[in-house]
């Protein structure tokens, strides 16, 4: 069966969408148009079909080389990129900071230039510093760069898989109320999701301790100009109010070191005020989805029963993550609008 037939040209408002400019890098969703997001989500659907086959292998990226360059620990993102590349028949090489020349003091830029010189097509990078993928994108002219999470800045593939997961369940993203709860200040997942959901016409509400919100979102006036996010989100620190009528509730991971850094009086108080629980979910829309980007601290930002309850899509998020990454690897390498069976 050829998959190319199952990928339809996206139509918005009845008009054919012009062929998008081929994208070279995926750094964040802030530079994605709505049409381009729709295209990725459509392509993800086809990729998910491939993942459902008995033999999960298509030759689409045969002869292409993908390097995953991870400077931070990761389970799901890394394995998911590796699986995505391998299902598409790319050669996937995994590199991590430990055991590489980074330990001998090689700079990120020189590591990138070295990898490029080996004829690699795509670098998937995760780095603890915001903007690390941009540094590679600025200086490497022959490879595509995919951001697999940079510092506090962005995690675009996570956001795309979240968009896909919600769309898959609820049909459309337009007009939905998406609530993101927790440490927004330090969350790259939150930042990319704000761009993504807002571009798709959903309403994004943030809730959490005021100390863990970006300061410019906490002030309506004062000496800080308002953030680009200010026009895209609402902030309501009272979770019981914020959760009312939410279609989707996404709990963010709470790094336990935030308490020691003074952002929180105690985990106990955080749990009391911002843990997403069954009781609180009763205020949301009936059947509202529960999401978490992982890894979870069950019993802290989300109650155990909710994490594994009927409305949780946390495992589907992981499955969809592979499909979304296949779609992106495919589109960056081959170009938009074609199917994986070529």
């Amino acid at each position: 069966m050829s998959l190319s037939r199952t990928i339809e040209t996206p139509e918005i408002g009845g008009a054919l969408v012009p062929e998008p400019t081929p994208r070279k890098h995926v750094l964040d969703l802030d530079d994605f148009s709505r049409e381009e997001i729709v295209e990725v989500l459509d392509s993800t659907r086809s990729m998910k079909e491939v993942l459902g086959r008995d033999i999960k292998k298509v030759p689409a990226l045969r002869g292409k080389v993908v390097v995953t360059l991870f400077y931070e620990a990761s389970t799901r993102t890394r394995v998911s990129f590796e699986e995505a590349g391998k299902v598409l028949s790319a050669d996937v090489i995994n590199m991590s900071a430990s055991g590489s020349s980074t330990e001998k003091g090689e700079s990120l830029l020189n590591t990138g230039l070295t990898i490029q010189a080996m004829g690699v097509d795509t670098i998937v990078i995760r780095h603890p510093h915001s903007g690390a993928p941009h540094l590679l994108a600025q200086h490497l002219n022959k490879v595509s760069v995919i951001n697999a999470g940079d510092g506090l800045h962005a995690h675009p593939t996570q956001a795309l898989l979240d968009l896909y997961t919600v769309q898959d369940k609820l049909g459309s993203l337009e007009g939905l109320k998406i609530l993101i709860v927790g440490d927004v200040l330090h969350s790259r997942v939150a930042r990319s999701n704000i761009w993504g959901f807002a571009k798709m016409g959903a309403k994004v509400v943030l809730s959490g301790p005021a100390t863990l919100m970006p300061p410019d979102l906490m002030r309506s006036s004062g000496n800080l100009a308002r953030s680009p996010f200010a026009s895209l989100v609402e902030v309501e620190t009272d979770l019981d109010k914020a959760i009312e009528d939410a279609d989707v509730v996404m709990a963010l991971r709470l790094q336990q070191e935030r308490q020691h850094a003074g952002f929180l009086p105690s985990l106990r108080e955080y749990i009391r005020r911002w843990q997403v629980t069954d009781t609180r979910m009763e205020r949301a829309k009936p059947g509202a989805m529960v999401m978490h980007p992982g890894p979870m601290n069950e019993g802290i930002e989300i109650s155990n029963s909710l994490a594994h309850g009927g409305n949780s899509v946390i495992e589907e998020q992981v499955t969809n993550g592979v499909a979304v990454r296949m779609a992106l690897l495919y589109q960056l390498t081959i170009g938009p609008g074609q199917g994986p069976d070529g």
């Binding site: 830029l109 941009h134 930042r191």
Partner: protein, 459 residues
Amino acid sequence: METDHIVIRHARIIDPSRQLDRVGDLLMGRGEIIAAGRLGPDRIPDGCRVIDATGLILSPGFIDLHCHLREPGFEYKETIAAGSKAGAKGGFTTLCAMPNTDPPIDNAAVVEYIRQRAREDSLIRILPIGCVTKGRKGHELAEMEELASAGVVAFSDDGDPVYDANLMRLALVYSLDLGLPISNHCQDKSLSCNGVMAEGPVATHLGLDGIPAAAEEAMIARDIALAESTGGRLHVAHLSTAGSVPLLREAKERGLSVTAEVCPHHLTITDQWALGRKGEFATAAGDLAYDTSTKVYPPLRSQRDVETLIAALADGVIDCVATDHAPHDLTSKQVTYQDAAFGISVLETALGSMLQLVHSNKLSLGAMVDRLTTGPAKVLGESYSDLASLQPGTPADVVLFDPDEEWTVDTSEFESKGRNTPLEGTKLKGRVVGTFASGNLVYQSPALKFNDTFVKSDR
């Protein structure tokens, strides 16, 4: 015949030390100013070399209270030789060198080393600034009298604030009889934490740790209180926030001995520049973002801060412009924003940046010259007033500039070893044509031409 004399004719002469602003001539010889004003041919000696400066501005050479020449210790970033050439090209005839060298300038031997290097390598006057504390570590006062005797002009632990309030108090008291100011880098590190750019919308968008304005303002407020209680001389280095201005204004109104400087970049560009589009608004970060040449301490801030600082410079609440010239090697900047070194290479763009404010009518030309000459000289004290004057008998430190020449910043033409500036590729209007230090022509642009030597029949 006075063949070593030079006369600059028909320039618009601006000398704030004498409230002089008129078209005229300047005669210099044997390293000194001989006369400035409308000089009749009788006063110009035969054989003297002539520069026709019609349309150009002539003023005392600029004084920079705050620059990093990196020597000794960081010669791969800058040297006194290269920094002095950069200064001359930027119209500066006096540079005050900050002590965050290796070893730091915390004893007479290092001061003497710098003075020796300056005698051998520098085209212009280099005045060292000594440390407040030994090793800039903030634990014990440096031997401030020894440093003063060796020739430092101020004290600073720049790059690091004097963080212990009591030590700052003691430094202000101890330096009272030395008559030298203490220049503090105002930053409360418990508030700036790991910040790499100004707190605000751009930092939020880029996911970079923000530095709140309060990190600067809290430290300035503390230092003003200490200056008041001790009577010491406080100089606030490179202030950057709108909120610092009323603190300073009020301190001056109460008659405290407090002065302040501001950098050209904090008067002309904003945190928006971190997006890598030369300040152009962008909703998407894109691959140009995280332009590490915009990483500087204090950080670039909002347009509102910029406007407030310009107004404060214009009305004199801020005494002077200082460059905080902070040259770096390429590798210190070709890293992530978080890892990049703080600092901008400023000496060669300072005048062009400052003239933007003049061209946009936010600052008068006279005030601009004042803040680059008499302003910093006053901070150094009465004994340095000759460095900012065209009074006959003073050193012939003179800059000649064309306020209207348009040019594009090209760091490959920099004299400084530091090519780190966000202004690379941008257009500036106004450029130095010639710089004289003690009567020597230390920088000459292609536009500077000597006419034939003067003979009386030329009249």
